[in-house]
Symmetry: C2
Subunit: 363 residues, 2 copies
């Protein structure tokens, strides 16, 4: 069912997403073929295909494959590609449910899944509710399928290797879900739940640094038989990089170009998202600035003009500059962790380039 990549040349990270996308499409097609009595699955599979087509950086699958390459000179075997594709399908699940929880209407420049599923039921009085409910189910399906992708037909070498992946996949799932919970509890109207750095850093750790960087790298390395020193070296690189990645995301969520990020520049403000950026702005604010922040952060009805004013306050407090400097520090830490790391040089080169890309990106 799942075809391994045909190439025998050394893998370039730019080529990893296409292979993972092919695996995902083959998997979805097989699901439809195997459930002729459930034509409703088409709608769900098509929504996932649309999300895949809409873009995304595929950073987790790429890091998983690079994690393998950090340890082994061999081409990644099929189980590495399966885990890489599983991580992307899990990520689709997380995006679908997160967008419901955050009431985000846009994802990757297109309507969020709960909005596009509402459109599929347009004409009904309860289309919006039905869209949300169908998206809850779609997320459940994607979560289940992310594990189904890992079930190989026969016990054997691939099954034994995949067996190794489960403890890390289980940890990744629990960490990510608790990270999302921390994010939800910390967000809201700033007057009631003021942004707080300590919580914001925990959210970053579980919802991004471990989920997006550390665990995917460890998974690939672990499948290649990495020893604890290698896993520790990968963590020392991945955790600061993941922090820098999320801090950049928070800056883009406020100052980014929606045409490039695919996300509204109002959502983080309206949600009252508990970010290091917001907490720093509040900490550094004059009393007048603090009043504006408390009134604006978490105001669901915030207008574009009010958001511009808030953006100016965040800049004026110096919070934007502070966060830029935190990103720079973490970028340096991540690179320094690679200096004497017991990793294959080909992988180290890729990891340096990825760190630079993750930190400097505009989308």
């Amino acid at each position: 069912m799942i075809t391994p990549p045909q190439s025998r040349t050394p893998l370039e990270p730019e080529r990893i997403p296409a292979t993972v996308e092919t695996l995902l499409h083959e998997f979805l097609d097989a699901q439809i073929d195997n459930a002729a009595d459930l034509p409703e699955l088409d709608l769900f599979a098509q929504t996932l295909r649309d999300m895949i087509a809409a873009g995304g950086k595929r950073i987790r699958p790429v890091l998983c494959v690079v994690g393998w390459q950090a340890v082994s000179h061999r081409q990644p075997p099929s189980e590495v590609w399966r885990v890489a594709a599983s991580l992307e399908l899990f990520h689709l699940f997380a995006l679908i449910h997160d967008d419901i929880m955050d009431a985000s209407r846009t994802r990757r420049g297109r309507p969020a899944a709960h909005c596009s599923l509402a459109t599929r039921h347009a004409g009904r009085g309860d289309a919006a509710t039905l869209g949300v409910n169908a998206a809850i189910l779609l997320g459940d399906l994607a979560l289940g399928w992310s594990y189904e992708l890992l079930h190989v037909a026969r016990p054997g070498a691939a099954a034994r290797h995949l067996h190794r992946a489960w403890p890390l996949l289980n940890a990744l799932r629990t960490e990510t879900l608790v990270g999302q919970y921390l994010d939800l509890v910390g967000s809201g109207p700033a007057a009631a739940t003021p942004p707080d750095s300590a919580t914001a850093w925990r959210v970053i750790r579980y919802k991004t640094a471990k989920y997006t960087c550390e665990r995917p790298l460890q998974l690939g390395a672990h499948l290649a038989g990495a020893d604890p020193k290698v896993l520790a070296a990968l963590s020392a690189y991945a955790l600061p990089l993941g922090e820098a990645f999320q801090l950049r995301d928070d800056l883009l969520g406020v100052f980014g170009d929606p045409e490039r990020t695919g996300k509204s520049v109002l959502d983080d403000f309206r949600e009252g998202k508990n970010t290091v950026l917001a907490a720093t702005a509040l900490r550094l604010a004059t009393p007048a600035q603090a009043r504006l922040l408390r009134a604006g952060l978490g105001n669901r009805a915030l207008t574009g003009a009010q958001a511009s004013e808030l953006r100016q306050v965040v800049t004026d407090t110096g919070a934007q500059a502070v966060v830029e400097s935190l990103i720079g520090e973490r970028f340096e830490q991540a690179l320094a962790a690679l200096d004497h790391a017991p990793l294959r040089p080909a992988a180290t080169t890729i990891l340096r380039a990825m760190a630079a890309g993750a930190v400097a990106r505009t989308s």
Copy 2:
């Protein structure tokens, strides 16, 4: 981590739930112990423990263990208990997400998970939304954990046997989620989406008959090495029984005693649930009765007095009697399927008693 049952005497079905509950509690305790850096998990684990303590028939775990006994004279090994417990944890996931989708406030006589989680965040302006969002995450966690429960520490005999369970578990998940989608799409204000028997029967097939009866029995039997004839015999029993079970549920949802069912007797009417009962009532109704049904089914603001009137209409049309007769027919079919089935007599005896219990129950 998971202790097998101590008994060496033949298993009585009454004793299966306690063993499964012990396994679930041990699993939840281990999750908490292993995540000292994530104290927020306590809240999630406690909500699941409360749901387990609130009751439930454990029909899926019982059928899984009985499925094993239909094939093997040996005591069920640990992998059978794991699958049985996994089915119950999956069911908790399904209940949590279903109650969100159906906006049900009561489950097993206690507040639904999204309501109890809202109470845990009382005092915040967004407590209700936070309750729903935390319950989405709790369901995700339970779904993931239902599979984590099946990961044994080492490859070996138990892992090889569990391997066999995956195709059935994967089918069960997809069928149940699509069944819930069919249920959602078919429900709503009767004026816009009139109850329709064909859809109602498909919902019953996927959301109940296969999910609650056929797949759990097949799982236990398959783990014991059942041949296709045995699996077919179990289906011939399970599908009509599952239909009868759901038809009884639909009657209890309208005519039951909330003290005994733990469910509000208004929910099905208010949701405009697409049941065979509602479709039959509408089909048999006089024009005046049809007007009342169309106005009442799916009316979110239905009062107790209006519900009494609707109940009377359902009885007067003869729909209640028709559904009772459908239940009787299916009960007979299920029993007849056992007459010459190649199953061990001890299991057949249990299956006959379970069928009688499922069909005659008041809770």
